[in-house]
């Protein structure tokens, strides 16, 4: 059902029907003392043409993946978006519908979300997924809350190599809950230190959260990490910030993850300066009543025809109130539709091909940069499409020089780890299928030219 605004004639007919002169009169009960008696302090309205020119002027102030040669990753990725995606989601039934979940008139939307849930289950190797969350970071926080809730334990271990914004968001969600959030260090391969996990995991720990791949682009050994976690009957939570990797890596569910969350932005959603993005959340069958978020279920109507509905609503806050599994009463339906269209277009084979290109191109960049005098690769762990580079002369200076040359070379890491001095020389470089060999060579040349 699409949104169609009222015409002036319709408004006047409604006013006449209820015996009111104007829309302003409907606010008659608002005391005069609090009513604004002047126009809003806004500039004059512009025509459509003037407005477009003004936005173009403002946009020209930004350095983007379009204006610059960008090798930026770290939780938001520049992947190719097929034209068919925009074309399909622009249908007004999808684009302008508001909260289209009544099964009587929204079977299309509900079916699309059900298919999204199914795709997430297939990619993550889990039994069920919810209708989506706001983004990877909040999905990660909800997973921590779910672990604490279902295990009735107060301690959670978070890898230091998990995305810093995810860790910050978890801390925010847990702030007044009297929980013990403990950091797991990484070892020199850039992955979570298994010896530290062995030492810190105990019967008071509800869950352990690691990235897959992690913030440094390193592919964590989930199966190995799962062992001590499960020995103490805790939950392993895998946070997938770059799910294109799932086109090539084994699904976390097969490796022992109990909850899999992540960021679906890579599946056809533009970078858009940070949003709207798409959180996904998947868990095992027996945990379904503990899951947060909306769930679309498949059923039959009284004539035996297949239909889709929001189900297990008794988990949610509008019914269970303060005992609900979450306070979320929304999802990212349009973005979930984008991901569903993207994944359907690519298919299993296409996703694998995209992932292979990411892996190959990043490996080429990895080799090339490693060979440059004054640059090294500090972490030895296997990576997918991004990796950490260390510049002898310091990261910020190198990246500033590159920016002058129109290249956004990477994300400086010092700001995320102020207590770890060696991070000041390091930056995170991301290469996707969008980069050509020529462009990667340009990065290498710029690093070699300006670099050490």
């Amino acid at each position: 059902m699409r949104y169609i605004p009222h015409t002036e004639a319709e408004v006047n007919r409604m006013l006449a029907a209820i015996g009111v002169e104007s829309v302003t009169d409907l606010f008659g009960t608002v005391p005069a003392t609090v009513r604004l008696k002047r126009p809003l302090n806004l500039p004059e309205p512009l025509s459509e043409a003037e407005l477009v020119r003004e936005f173009r002027r403002l946009a020209a102030n930004d350095a983007t993946a379009s204006s610059h040669l960008a090798f930026l990753g770290g939780g938001a990725y520049d992947h190719f978006i097929p034209a068919a995606v925009d074309h399909l989601i622009s249908r007004s039934e999808f684009y302008t519908a508001y909260t289209p979940y009544q099964p009587e008139i929204s079977q299309g939307t509900l079916q699309a979300v059900f298919e999204f849930q199914t795709l997430i289950c297939q990619l993550t190797g889990m039994d069920q997924a919810n209708a989506s969350m706001y983004d990877g970071a909040s999905a990660c926080a909800e997973a921590v809350l779910m672990a604490v809730r279902s295990k009735k334990r107060r301690k959670v271990l978070l890898s230091a190599a998990l995305h810093p914004a995810y860790r910050e968001t978890v801390a925010t969600y847990c702030r007044y809950l009297d929980l013990d959030l403990v950091t797991l260090p990484w070892s020199n391969d850039g992955a979570t230190d298994p010896a530290a996990l062995e030492k810190m995991m105990d019967d008071q720990t509800a869950g352990v959260v690691v990235g897959y791949p992690n913030f440094f682009g390193v592919i964590e050994d989930l199966a190995d990490l799962a062992r001590p976690v499960h020995r103490h009957r805790g939950l392993l939570i895998a946070a997938v910030q770059e799910p294109i990797a799932l086109g090539l890596l084994r699904p976390p569910g097969e490796l022992g993850a109990d909850i899999v969350v992540g960021e679906g932005q890579s599946f056809g959603i533009p970078l858009s300066f940070g949003g709207p993005y798409l959180g996904f959340f998947a868990a095992r069958r027996e945990a379904i009543r503990s899951m947060p978020g909306r769930l679309v279920g498949e059923s039959v109507d009284r004539d035996g025809r297949r239909g889709f509905v929001l189900t297990l609503a008794t988990r949610e806050q509008h019914i269970r109130r303060e005992k609900a599994t979450s306070n979320i009463c929304s999802n990212q339906a349009l973005c979930a539709l984008v991901a569903t269209v993207y994944l359907s277009l690519l298919g299993r084979q296409g996703l694998r091909e995209v992932a292979e290109q990411n892996l190959a191109k990043a490996a080429y960049a990895h080799r090339s940069i490693k060979a440059i005098e004054g640059f090294s690769i500090p972490f030895k762990g296997p990576v997918f499409n991004e990796f950490v580079v260390e510049a002898e002369s310091g990261a910020e200076g190198v990246l500033t020089d590159l920016e002058q040359a129109g290249i956004l070379g990477g994300i400086p890491l010092g700001r995320f780890y102020p207590n770890i001095p060696e991070m000041r020389g390091r930056f995170l470089v991301c290469v996707t299928e969008q980069h050509s060999k020529k462009e990667i060579d340009a990065l290498t040349a710029a690093l070699a030219g300006g670099g050490a």
Partner: protein, 130 residues
């Protein structure tokens, strides 16, 4: 609506019945009718200590969730395992097949503090429930 004579009742719509030296607990016909189709029951583990007036479990229907309150204090010694596969028994047989737990009470006399069938029926009618 049924109000079996031999049972005792609480204001939260649970029933209690002495069986040998245990107290059997369930929810009333009025409660199951108000809830609608029951789909899930969350019961405590055997060995759990429950306190009179405090919630010890949850009954979930398609449209609502309700805490179940202990009518007496004591230890849960038996739990109706069949409810996990057939929660709908609460709707079809709230007083017989769908007993929830059996409690070994601290004070055998505590059950006498509860309402009898007549008082409960009056309570329900006064609440205006139908």
């Amino acid at each position: 609506m049924e109000f079996p004579e031999e049972l005792k009742y609480t204001e939260e719509h649970e029933w209690a019945f002495i069986e040998d030296d245990l107290v059997v607990v369930g929810i009333t016909d009025f409660a199951q009718d108000a809830l609608g189709d029951v789909v899930f029951v969350e019961l405590p583990e055997i060995g759990t200590m429950v306190e009179a007036g405090k919630p010890f479990g949850v009954v979930e229907s398609v449209k609502a969730v309700s805490d179940i309150y202990a009518p007496v204090s004591g230890e849960v010694v038996e739990v109706n395992e069949e409810l996990s596969d057939s929660p709908e028994m609460i709707n079809t047989s709230p007083y017989e097949d769908a007993w929830l737990v059996k409690i070994k009470v601290n004070e055998p006399g505590e059950i006498n503090d509860l309402m009898d069938a007549e008082a409960y029926q009056a309570f329900v009618e006064e609440e205006g429930g139908d």
